[in-house]
């Protein structure tokens, strides 16, 4: 085989540089990706496995990422797809829930009733700290939880969440709304005795 031409050598060097830069940027985002991963699955071990699989795949398919677009969303899309492949039910068929759903202001009303006066932020935090967000989140059915984790913890927009999960924006909104209601209901059970 002949030696690569100068042009070819330059191309190879540039590609290597692009790849290195891509991998570094992806690694810089790993804390943020983990924060979401940790709440999508049940345990730290699962989250760690998922992270390794995700990054291995991301590095293998780095060429399919369009530079300048949202890398964090791209990584999370790989991660959520891998999570589905791990044997979870299809995203498009949310499990039916027999959870007794409360109204939007149920938690607020209960806390205020328990206090006997309007709530201030410090008191709210104090009360909430008595419960466990992680436990409450675990009670939310996974199809709803995915959306809540992406929007409320991952701080993605509705549009990004829709792309990551490959569902319509309307579905993001309705699942998010229900997830928040269920979460608040669970928190109310924990913190209002």
């Amino acid at each position: 085989m002949s030696e690569p031409t100068q042009t070819e050598a330059r191309r190879i060097a540039e590609e290597a540089r692009d790849r290195v830069r891509f991998e570094e940027e992806a690694l810089e985002l790993s804390d943020q990706v983990f924060r979401v991963a940790r709440h999508l699955v049940g345990s730290r071990e699962e989250a760690e496995d998922l992270m390794q699989e995700t990054y291995a795949r991301a590095f293998r398919s780095w060429r399919s990422f369009t530079p300048g677009t949202n890398l964090r969303a791209w990584l999370l899309r790989i991660l959520t797809n891998l999570n589905i492949d791990r044997g979870r039910r299809q995203q498009r068929a949310p499990q039916t829930t027999s959870i007794d759903e409360r109204g939007d202001y149920y938690l607020y009303d209960k806390l205020e009733a328990a206090e006997g006066k309007p709530l201030d932020e410090e008191r709210v935090i104090e009360k909430l700290s008595q419960g466990s967000i992680v436990d409450a989140l675990a009670q939310v059915p996974h199809d709803f939880r995915d959306v809540l984790v992406l929007v409320d913890i991952g701080e993605f927009s509705y549009a990004d969440a829709a792309q990551i999960l490959d569902i319509p924006i309307g579905t993001v909104m309705s699942r998010l709304h229900r997830a928040r209601r269920i979460l608040k209901g669970e928190l109310a059970e924990e913190v209002v005795k």
């Binding site: 690694l27 924060r35 390794q52 409320d152 913890i153």
Partner: protein, 66 residues
């Protein structure tokens, strides 16, 4: 209230929502609570950090340079 909280409304809708909140203490108190709750969930969730070993393992996945 949800899309307003998430900043997912267009300008006209935002103004409408803000005007309502200005005049309605019932909604305003609940809106402030939602903001606190949202902030709290984010903070509590952020406490779950990656173990340093995991970070190293991810780093080791980088394509080696020849």
């Amino acid at each position: 209230m949800q899309p307003y909280l998430d900043r997912e409304l267009d300008e006209a809708q935002m103004r409408e929502a803000e005007a309502h909140l200005d005049g309605c203490s019932y909604c305003r108190r609940r809106y402030r609570f939602e903001v606190s709750l949202r902030r709290y969930v984010r903070t509590a969730a952020a406490e779950k950090r990656m173990a340093p070993e995991l970070k190293e393992r991810l780093s080791a996945l980088r394509t080696p340079l020849h």
